[in-house]
């Protein structure tokens, strides 16, 4: 296929020494390194790249610059990839997006043929598919299949890692054309950290694709940015401009969230299509596209060409095409009085004042008819180049909070007010010479005249929307979807405004038509990039790997990974009751409160009393918000007169650190709060044999007399300095051992060894939940919510309303006390052996919901289903019969109980 290429020339992007092959629609195609998918396919003879959104019309390359929707393809399973800006890679699989059964024989094309008699114009869906109403689900299914661009594969699993990077630079330049390179070089030369983003395969903009004459200037600029150390992100694209000039830059598998001190918009100008019949046939392309193919990829865009233009850019295209060996038959210039000597000198027929009427051909362009005041000329060609003048690309200006205005002199929108920190340079600022574009008041023809190529909106559709009363650009946009497609108006902002002005009889050079808003994302953006890895790393305890290696089923518990169980939750719970179990509770939040005011600080923060605590004792406490709701719970051990060791729930660790430090930021008491959650590991060794097993590892006297229930002692265990808390969340004799996490694995293994004679079992989260439920110990956040106060939650004994100091939650709890309880948190036992589902309701006397089940488990030890529920006060007496709903529709009778289900007097804890 190499013979379709033009002779090698300096400035071409391709490396002819390196062949790269890939597949297109299952067939192998090869191109050169440096080719885009589009240039390689075009060189290999492909002319149809996609089918259009609605009518499934054949579409070929139009812009070759990543602007239009015509070359969106599927690459290796990723839909809506722009073939014209995506480099080829060896072995990539490329296919079309939305044709059936194939790109060349698309059955869905028939819908386009049905028009206009059947009418698939604007509003077609709404008008046609509402009768009969009940058939809509069927219609919808068919229509959803027919419309749209590409499909997401629900089975697709991403294998690559996508990253987010936060970047702060002094200057970010969007666009690597002449103006962008100049701005970047200047900034970097002034010592500013400068980054430049460009989505092309080569920097330079028109200096790169406009032929050899720009090369010297380009070399100079590239030399300057290299010397000045500009960081170049390429190929990459800016997805939009957000608050505070935050710019997401997508580059390969990385999303850079760039926050520049100064943002330079150097996005240049975008050449516009002309509106005429069949202006979307394959073979009709923009002048800049044809020049890119010739100058950068050295591909002949056609054999015989006609150029239709309304600006001098058409002359440039004609000259470059001639230079590339294309026979340019004629240049039709819509301007009656322009100077066409350039093309005439090149031996090309110049037709001033001629506008295109329609392109001829069914599957590809075969000719064109141009007219002037009723006079028409017809030409045969296989390439029809349209050069409708360029408009500045200002989408990022408006997205960043700037405004644009219509400049009558220059006949284009230019930036008006700019947000602080933004600068616009080059053609985007409207500085390029006026295009001199005349309004493309298209001659009438029966062929489809595309205005919006993304959404298949024709001049007729826009006219119809105006006739139906949507008499403004904004309303017409909402009705016809013009400017709403992937290009966000880059190919149709100008033309839709002109068509509407024409229809409404407005002067298009006046500002009355307006311009719609171009929104982010600027280009099709992969979900994988948007969902790239965040910054919340998983937390693993120091003994994580031991658990994983010993059958621990690791699951998420807040930020942590914890073992759900080690394969048999029931047996693990039995081991704790009967002999010995060991659980890793390192996930508990751990705070040290230290200083002369430590006691007073805790007195003010908790409803409990802590000032009267004896040394070496531990006490259960709850933390309330100032609204009296329970927000956390845990234990507080007094290590010295001025030092307390506080544990919080696993999920509450970060929040409690914030909570403690927040209040101390207000009170400024003489104490410090240190979060030692991750530096201290903790294990709970529990079961009737806990003392005997542990005593073998320490000289610390563990006897009940020396170290009773709720004692806190500092002990050397297996050579490790530990803080031992004698508490009993799981209802048996137990020692919660806190130790430096560096020694965690060592001590865990020593404890397992010491427990071996007692058949010790490690136990996971699930058995712990059953064990705590047997003791009716609550889990904050599961058994309580934002409305749960400690009085109603059955813990009035914790609340010390007679404390002399003020404390957080005091006034709300006083208020609740005055009001009286309405609900109560109670235990219940099911009476028919069924286990209620957590979250189901307690049914009231009227048959409606009266309460809710917060915890529910079957206890093998007790041989029954037990749980915790919020019930109204009228149902809260010990022994009250309640009825629990079940998703099956049946109900479960249960009895309210106040005392713990297991060991209600706590004898085992104290043994």
């Amino acid at each position: 296929m190499a013979d379709t290429r033009l002779a090698s020339r300096q400035g071409e992007l391709i490396d002819r020494s390196r062949q790269v092959s890939f597949t297109w629609q299952g067939a192998e195609v090869s191109g050169y390194a440096g080719d885009t998918i589009a240039s390689a396919l075009f060189a290999a003879g492909t002319r149809v790249f996609s089918r259009s959104f609605k009518y499934h019309r054949r579409r070929g390359l139009m812009c070759c610059a990543g602007q239009c929707p015509n070359c969106l393809v599927n690459v290796d399973g990723e839909p809506t990839v722009r073939a014209c800006v995506t480099p080829i890679e060896q072995g990539m699989t490329v296919s079309h997006l939305n044709a059936w059964p194939s790109l060349n024989r698309d059955f869905l094309h028939l819908v386009g043929r049905l028009t206009p008699s059947f009418g698939m114009q604007v509003g077609f869906y709404y008008k046609t598919f509402i009768h009969p109403r009940r058939a809509w689900p069927l219609y919808e299914k068919v229509l959803r299949n027919a419309a749209g661009l590409g499909k997401l594969d629900p089975e697709h699993r991403r294998t690559d890692r996508y990253e987010k990077i936060h970047r702060h630079v002094d200057v970010l330049v969007i666009g690597g054309g002449e103006a962008g390179l100049e701005a970047a070089a200047e900034a970097a030369e002034a010592g500013k950290h400068t980054a430049l983003v460009d989505e092309g395969l080569a920097l330079g903009g028109y200096l790169a694709w406009g032929g050899p004459k720009g090369h010297a200037r380009l070399e100079e600029l590239l030399g300057r940015i290299t010397a000045a150390g500009v960081e170049v992100l390429q190929p990459a694209f800016a997805g939009g401009v957000y608050e505070g000039l935050l710019v997401p830059v997508y580059q390969g598998r990385t999303m850079h969230r760039v926050r520049p001190a100064e943002l330079v918009i150097a996005t240049g100008a975008i050449e516009q299509p002309l509106v005429f019949g069949n202006n979307d046939l394959p073979g009709v392309m923009l002048g800049t596209a044809a020049r890119r193919l010739v100058n950068q990829f050295r591909v002949m865009p056609g054999e015989e060409a006609v150029v239709v233009t309304s600006s001098d850019e058409g002359f440039d295209a004609a000259c470059d095409l001639t230079d590339g060996g294309v026979n340019v038959v004629a240049v039709a210039d819509a301007r009656p009085n322009a100077d066409g000597s350039r093309v005439e000198d090149a031996g090309i027929e110049y037709l001033p004042g001629f506008q295109p009427l329609q392109a001829k051909g069914s599957k590809a362009v075969s000719g064109v008819v141009v007219t002037r005041n009723g006079e028409s000329r017809s030409f045969g060609c296989d390439l029809l180049v349209m050069a409708g003048g360029s408009v500045g690309h200002t989408a990022f200006v408006t997205q960043g909070g700037g405004t644009i205005r219509y400049d009558r002199e220059r006949r284009r929108y230019v930036p008006d007010s700019l947000p602080k920190g933004m600068r616009v340079v080059g053609s985007a600022a409207g500085t390029a010479a006026a295009a001199g574009a005349v309004p493309a008041k298209a001659p009438k023809t029966s062929c489809k005249q595309m205005v919006c190529f993304c959404e298949d909106v024709t001049t007729k559709d826009i006219g119809l929307s105006l006739d139906e009363g949507f008499r403004s650009l904004e309303l017409s946009k909402r009705y016809t979807t013009v400017t709403m497609g992937p290009c966000q108006g880059r190919m149709c902002h100008r033309n839709s405004g002109l068509v509407i002005a024409d229809e409404l009889g407005l002067d298009p050079d006046a500002q009355r038509v307006g311009v719609t808003t171009a929104r982010a994302p600027h280009n099709p953006t992969s979900f994988s990039l948007l969902a790239a890895r965040g910054y919340e790393p998983v937390k693993r305890t120091s003994t994580h790997h031991w658990h994983a290696e010993h059958g621990g089923k690791m699951l998420w518990a807040g930020d942590w990974k914890r073992p759900y169980d080690y394969g048999d939750a029931q047996s693990e719970a039995d081991a704790v009751h009967e002999s010995l179990g060991l659980i890793d509770v390192s996930t508990l939040g751990k705070l040290i409160v230290r200083g002369p005011d430590a006691a007073a600080f805790l007195e003010r923060l908790y409803p409990n009393r802590f000032g009267d605590m004896k040394l070496a004792r531990v006490r259960y406490g709850i933390v309330c918000g100032d609204d009296g709701s329970i927000i956390d719970d845990g234990t507080v051990a007094r290590l010295s007169d001025t030092e307390y060791y506080v544990t919080t729930t696993s999920s509450g660790a970060g929040g409690m650190e914030q909570w403690f430090t927040w209040w101390n930021a207000v009170w400024k008491m003489d104490c410090e709060i240190v979060n030692v959650t991750s530096t201290i590991a903790a294990f709970n060794l529990a079961g009737p044999n806990a003392r005997t097993a542990l005593q073998g590892l320490t000289d610390f006297d563990l006897s009940n007399e020396a170290f009773p229930y709720l004692g806190a002692g500092q002990a050397q265990i297996a050579g490790v300095p530990c803080l031992v808390l004698r508490i009993g969340f799981v209802g048996e004799l137990g020692y919660e051992i806190h130790l430096p996490s560096a020694a965690a694995e060592h001590l865990w293994e020593k404890l397992m060894e010491a427990g071996e004679p007692y058949a010790v079992k490690p136990f996971g989260l699930e058995p712990q939940r059953v064990l705590r439920l047997e003791k009716m110990h609550i889990i904050v956040g599961q058994d309580t919510n934002a409305e749960s106060n400690p009085l109603e939650a059955g813990m009035p004994w914790i609340v010390k309303l007679d404390k002399e100091s003020d404390w957080i939650g005091r006034y709300a709890i006083e208020w609740y006390k005055n009001r009286g309880d309405r609900f109560a948190l109670v235990g219940w036992e099911a009476q028919n052996g069924k286990v209620p589902v957590e979250g189901t309701q307690v049914i009231g006397s009227d048959g409606g919901p009266a309460g809710r089940i917060t915890s529910s488990r079957f206890s093998r030890r007790l041989g029954k289903a037990i749980g915790i529920a919020w019930v109204p006060l009228s149902m809260s007496e010990d022994g009250t019969g309640i009825t629990i709903s079940d998703p099956s529709g049946a109900t479960i009778p249960a009895t309210v109980t106040h005392k713990a289900f297991y060991d209600p007097d706590g004898e085992r804890l104290r043994s």
């Binding site: 936060h166 930021a665 934002a786 005091r810 709300a812």
Partner: protein
């Protein structure tokens, strides 16, 4: 929100690094006046303009500070450690606080 917030300890940083603590409020001092108590607990000014508020530098120094921010422009006017800004008889926003602590 995507603006730069200047931590009194760490300097200018992206707002993503911080946790918002809500409006600076004044704590109720008794349970006797329902209206005052509930106003403190549940009502917020929701200012469209300059507002004094709490911030916690959760991905930085993990210290609380206060900022004055224009909520319509997201422009931070000044920041200070607790007590540094005038009239800081202020306590945590009870509603935002419970939420933060619960999370």
């Amino acid at each position: 929100m995507s603006f730069i917030l200047t931590c009194p300890n760490c300097g200018p940083r992206a707002v993503d690094e911080f946790s918002y603590g809500g409006e600076v409020t004044t704590r109720a001092t008794s349970s006797q006046d329902d209206r005052a108590l509930f106003h403190y607990l549940y009502f917020r000014t929701n200012t469209a303009g300059d507002q004094r508020e709490w911030w916690f530098h959760s991905s930085g120094c993990r210290e609380w500070f206060q900022a004055e921010r224009n909520t319509t422009r997201n422009e931070v006017l000044r920041v200070g450690r607790p007590g540094e800004l005038a009239g800081a008889e202020a306590v945590p926003d009870a509603a935002a606080a419970s939420e933060a602590a619960g999370g």
